[in-house]
Symmetry: C2
Subunit: 201 residues, 2 copies
Amino acid sequence: MPEAGYHHGDLQEALIAATEAILADQGAEGFTLREAARRAGVSPAAPSHHFGNAPGLLTEVAIRGYQELGAALKQAAEKKEPLHLRLHAQGLAYVAFALKYSGRFQMMFSNKRLVAGDERLRKASRDAHREFEVVVAALVAGTPKQAKVAATVAWSTAHGFAKLALEGKFGDPGTDSGRREIMAMLRQVLEYLWPIESARR
Amino acid sequence: MPEAGYHHGDLQEALIAATEAILADQGAEGFTLREAARRAGVSPAAPSHHFGNAPGLLTEVAIRGYQELGAALKQAAEKKEPLHLRLHAQGLAYVAFALKYSGRFQMMFSNKRLVAGDERLRKASRDAHREFEVVVAALVAGTPKQAKVAATVAWSTAHGFAKLALEGKFGDPGTDSGRREIMAMLRQVLEYLWPIESARR
DNA sequence: TCTTTAACTTGACACTGTTCAGATTAGGTC
DNA sequence: GACCTAATCTGAACAGTGTCAAGTTAAAGA
């Protein structure tokens, strides 16, 4: 694990960490392969031996992002009654993740920069999405098909809200007060979609 | 309007058209300023005299995109009874726009590549969004604030669904059959959100 | 016609991702 | 311990990018 010398020791992880750092403080557009190599203290050509090319590295980062997101959704749904609260918690967790790790989040959903059709990536994305389904299935009385539709509604709404929020449509996501505005608006949206008290209007 | 000679005649429009063409057949990531200049038959430095820089040109294209999108939403809402159908039509129009002009659509919502805080851009975006509000306000019995929330729900859902669809989460948006799958799923989502027949469950 | 000014080009600079031949070293084998 | 192989990384190069400063061309107004 020595960071100096001709052989890095654990360049793979160092590059992933460097990429996440860049995404964190420069955003998705700020990433360059050379900068990642620079931060890992290695030549521009080094990453190719581990990840093939830039999309290869980014795909690895995206996979981990989906796993984190899935875990956050799972955790948000635990031990919440009534069941509606679980969906609220998941929506809040989804947007909170998007705001907190905005660069990574944006990268996770920009297929053009990832390895098109990577099987592990598809699986990670599906697994995260499924976290919505398990909650929705418990809530919606209906066929599995209806549950799938409801889960798609939940995902689409959370995702659309997060994306629009990141583009500054609901307030500046770069400031504390802006983020509070955004989350307040989100709570109203969730309440509209899945009212907590009464049955749906 | 002569296309040849030292002075182009109408380079402004030519560059915008070239940009839209690139976005149409290469996608948002495929755009380069030099390629736009190339297609307009002009040197790489020429665009700067009209748009300052690449974000300047892209912002102009995005503004027109929002205007088109707003017009499509407005048109979709015309002459449809019952009122729920207007929202359905708007959702369908939103996603149809995203699928048809995917490159431009993606660019419209990638602030990092546009002029941050351009006033005309903000207005164009707001105007498009407002098309949701006018329909929702007529539908939702409630305070203006509630109408705003409902409009945000509509926008978020349509936008999220469109984005996820473009990333291939509901089928391949590049094929006819994939697009049919996507639109079929969307119809179910809209029916879940705003059931046509009965009152909301 | 002359001159001002807008439009455009040329050439340069600092970047980018990727490739390829070569240098280095880690780890297993004698 | 010495040797060899295979993995790892470097250095230099290439084609491409956005943008800038200085120079060239032509349109428009006096």
